[in-house]
Symmetry: C2
Subunit: 646 residues, 2 copies
């Protein structure tokens, strides 16, 4: 750790304001969708103006708490966070493109939020409206700190987007209020949240304000978590609550540095681990970094779907145990994959290693993006890898809703998608004094300040559809620095040219490190050939035994009933079958489609017997695979990622 | 139906007293186990004398209701039925072998039961002890008729075993009491049980006593079921119970003749369909027979595991939908397979067709027998086809207990096993005036009264280990009759000799019909070659796609971790792999073991990556399969029926 500590200390992600994404690119289109469709749509949802959608009431709760309206609180105890995440998404849009009208709307929302804040800094509509006497009596279940964290993130983002301090100051007062109640000092309670989130938010607030006490409070929450006597026990006893509670659910079963396996509620885990990584970064805490790395291995080497989905059990929305990755019952909550992106991004700051960026990319292009419809107005909460609609009537499958929904009564995912997708640019690059890191391949332009001055990195690519990435360096004067370009883990034979000349690629930790004195207009061409690949799972993954997933570049593919007919599990892919790719710009917003000829059990020839020693006849059948993220955007039906191979 | 109606009318199963099973044969050993071990063990369980086992209290409930003891009722509302089933098992043992001591014990139990009966004939310890005012107020949930049915079965069996009428008369009074309350006549309630069972019991009582009113009452219960207005609604309304109830659960959603698919609680379904088949037989009811046949197809062609397990969902212990047969989450309650045997046996009386006997045999040798340990003292309630012990910690798998249990708080299965296995002889043969039917191959001797006089059928076989069956006819004088021998569906090339001479086999409805004038000592040798077979499932069964089950004769095989190491799903069976069978008399009480060489993914060579485009190396690995029924009798671990084939 010694040397890397010195090194990672200087690596910083390039903020959203430094990155400009080309509008008609893959991600540019999605950012446009978030701004033009999703943010207005979600605003309507938060105001209960989507016909047929479950009631949100989230804005109305704030208006009631602010004294602007009358009525009862409605929704979950964490309903406030939907508004905060929406506001954060708005902020990211404003960072990239001014929009006075949207900003005025956000200002009005902030006015309401701030009016809902109590004189002591407290801010939570549930407790303000409904149970003011129960504030802070159940940190384990009641999400007060979780909501505070999201509002802090919104306050920081809005400040960074607009320079306006109103919400930032409000959330600082909120953080100060929390700081006055919780901490290691005598007279304060040694509590911490049941749902982590405030930790990473406080570190953002610390970075935005420079106030050490926010970092200190975040450190306290992380350090105290899982210590004995366990605060959740103390608190439950004080409430007279003697129901059994598995502390693994909220990762409070052990001090965080002793946690070796990812357990419990997957979103909570991701937000906790993100906070831990942030804290390790800010405090040079090696033991915390080691804990993060162990947990990283636990998640990504043993408990993650190929889509970047995590949390394979609906019960507790939780991790289970190693290699337990059932496809049909996969919970794989959209928010959990979003959290995995957050965590990966933070790990990448601690240690530049493509294993983090690979997972970040895997989740982004698959298990995250699958959560939102192509038109931006329908969502998946769970992201299974195999859907057989009638099976969703089984009691043990009731969490799988095989059709995208306009909203959810528990609507954490939609605004979480909005804030992540709106800010995808900040995940693409990072820098230190002498290095520009390119983690994601996005058609974009990035301004990077290095020791030798500012350079502009102009990245041109139609990734993920093709693996050609052209990078042009714009610099006022020649300067020496390193361009560190990630070679994706899925790419076996990358090719590199500089100014038209082929180059050997030196790969270290999964990055090509190109150090030279760069001149204006220097051109780096990098090619990641994108054959259609058959990807296998570790032989301990029972649900994928004998099966392959069709992948191309960062994309996982799937079969849908609408393209391949019903009974998708009757399809088998011969080892020799050629899989070809063809871009179809009229399908699913434009996707590279994978075509091939598979074999299919001929149920007509089999007859009525349920069991028979004869082999079922197979006939050739065309197969057509589409990117997993795009499934469920046409007529409802079956879907399958893992295909039998023989 | 016209001609078969005339025909089936005369077909009668050969009662247990007519069949003698050789003691050291496959089934003889099991009958001995029931008598010597299981009945005493279960007596102890019913009296709470098994250390570590869940409390039964079933006998104590009777003693309390009888005024012999004081205390509270404990257990389920159907706790009485455990005693009734035990008593029925005792009766079957006594039919086959006198045992004065056991008979004295049974007499004492009956004395207590009869003392627990109320003056009006009512007999149910739960309501007598706990809620006398609530008698018959909730037929849907409260199992009063179910318990009555089991007690009636016990009363009939004990009478047939011993000629003693005390319990028979008690259950007749109970049936009369029920008849006085329920029926189509004015003043009676049009109710019927939530859990069918009394229907088939009343028909047994009718056959034992000749009293038409019991048949009439059974007919009423069956005919009334699912009619509108639905009695369960009327009754719930009267109770002020407005909770939602899915009438499919208890097959009360439609009149039985309109039911086309097997739905709801699988044991309820089996008992209902058994009663329907009995009623169809007794009343020549063609529409009821047609309903039975449709339901038979629904179960056996679309909703049955290869083991004869049925009910693939833990929720509601129920059937789900066509081809939904997950292996790991299979509920496949032992009682449901037992019920399938009951039903198959009754269908066979309506129509001699091997499809019924095949399923009866499939369930008996696999999904039923798997429910009891080789030593008779440990039980499975659920019978999954794939067990991965850590996965049983998943919430959606919590019904799978991967280790046999000494007893259950809901202990329906153990005494149900006892009564079925003790009486297996009655499933082997049936007769009409001129035909002897051999349905099961059991080393046994059967006395059959035909139009031309009595013949004795002496069957010699070591089935299921070998497929040689020798049948010797003993008859005082030559007589013409037909010997109808089932050719099992699994057997492709049966061979037949009569008195040493090879014969063509004429197969009709799956039976070889041998009509001739038989002389004393005539010998029929029939050979069912028993190669190891790879059996496939219908291509719509997703959970078995690309997989085979190893079968030999009537036995389904499985892999166990104790023989094959962990991670059984890493094993693949090449299409060319030779599977050999070897009898091991020291293993699992003596079993034919299937050996072969499979391939196994080499996880050591794979490395840590969770996903990779390279194929995992495979190495040859010996595989050893044992009969499914015998699994879980050694050290705990994984188990697998469906094996990947390539």
């Amino acid at each position: 750790m010694g040397k890397s500590k010195a090194k990672f200390k200087r690596v910083e992600p390039l903020g959203l304001k430094k990155v400009r994404i080309r509008k008609d690119s893959f991600w540019g289109e999605r950012i446009r969708l978030i701004k033009e469709v999703v943010i207005p749509y979600q605003w309507n949802a938060l105001n209960d103006k989507i016909p047929g959608a479950p009631l949100s009431h989230a804005m109305e709760n704030f208006r009631i708490a602010a004294g602007e309206s009358r009525g009862e609180f409605h929704g979950w105890v964490f309903q406030d966070s939907d508004v905060a995440k929406w506001l954060e998404a708005v902020s990211y849009c404003l960072m990239q493109q001014p929009d006075p009208e949207l900003e005025r709307l956000a200002d009005r929302v902030i006015d309401t939020i701030v009016r809902a804040q109590q004189p002591d800094g407290y801010l939570n509509t549930y407790f303000t409206i409904k149970e003011p006497q129960k504030r802070w009596t159940n940190l384990r279940d009641n999400h007060e700190m979780y909501c505070a964290g999201h509002m802090i993130e919104a306050g920081v983002a809005y400040y960074e987007a607009t320079g306006k301090r109103k919400l930032l100051e409000a959330v600082s007062r909120l953080a100060d209020h929390i700081d006055s109640l919780f901490g290691p000092e005598p007279g304060k309670r040694r509590g911490y949240p049941g749902h982590p989130e405030i930790e990473l938010a406080l570190i953002k607030l610390y970075r935005a304000t420079g106030e050490q006490r926010y970092l200190k409070l975040a450190k306290f929450f992380i350090d105290e978590r899982g210590q004995e006597p366990n605060y959740f026990d103390i608190e439950a006893k004080a409430r007279g609550d003697d129901k059994e509670y598995d502390k693994r659910y909220s990762q409070a079963h052990l001090p965080v540095r002793e946690q070796k396996e990812a357990v419990g509620h997957a979103v909570r885990a991701m937000y906790l681990y993100s906070g831990m990584a942030d804290l390790a970064f800010e405090t040079n805490d090696e033991t915390l970094l080691e804990a993060c790395k162990r947990l990283w291995e636990s998640v990504t080497e043993r408990r993650m779907y190929i889509t970047g989905g995590i949390g394979s059990s609906a019960e507790g929305e939780a991790f289970t145990f190693d290699y337990d990755l059932p496809n049909d019952r996969a919970y794989a909550e959209t928010c959990a994959s979003i959290g995995l992106v957050f965590w990966a991004h933070r790990m990448l700051r601690l240690e530049v290693d493509r294993k983090y960026a690979d997972v970040m990319e895997r989740a982004l292009y698959n298990g995250v993006l699958s959560g939102i419809s192509l038109d931006g107005t329908k969502y998946f909460y769970t992201n299974p890898l195999e859907v057989w609609p009638p099976a969703c009537k089984r009691y043990d499958m009731r969490h799988i809703i095989p059709v995208r929904q306009p909203w959810f009564s528990c609507a954490c995912c939609p605004p979480n998608l909005a804030r992540l997708l709106a800010s995808v640019g900040q995940y693409a690059y990072s820098r230190d004094e002498r290095t520009v890191y390119v983690h994601l391949f996005i058609d974009s332009q990035a301004e990077v300040d290095l020791a030798g001055g500012r350079v502009t990195i102009v990245q041109e690519t139609v990734y993920p559809w093709e693996g050609d990435v052209n990078i042009r360096i714009r610099t006022e004067r020649p300067q020496e620095f390193t361009l560190a370009i990630r070679i994706p883990g899925w790419c076996k034979h990358p090719e590199l040219k500089i100014n038209g000349q082929g180059q050997e690629i030196t790969v270290l930790k999964g990055y090509a490190w190109i150090n030279r004195t760069w001149r204006d207009n220097d051109k780096v061409e990098i090619l990641f050939p994108m054959p259609v690949e058959r990807v296998r799972a570790h032989p301990n993954v029972r649900a994928a035994a004998g099966k392959v997933a069709i992948c191309r570049g960062p994309l996982v593919y799937c079969l849908e009933e609408v393209d391949n007919g019903p009974n998708l599990t009757q399809i088998v892919l011969p080892k020799t079958a050629n899989l070809m790719v063809k871009f179809d710009d009229r399908l699913l917003g434009g996707v590279a489609v994978v075509h091939g000829v598979g074999l299919r059990s001929d149920s007509a020839s089999w007859g009525d017997a349920l069991y028979n020693s004869a082999e079922c006849e197979k006939r050739e059948a065309p197969i057509k695979a589409v990117p997993y993220y795009a499934w469920g955007n046409r007529e409802p039906g079956e879907m399958l990622v893992w295909i039998r191979e023989e």
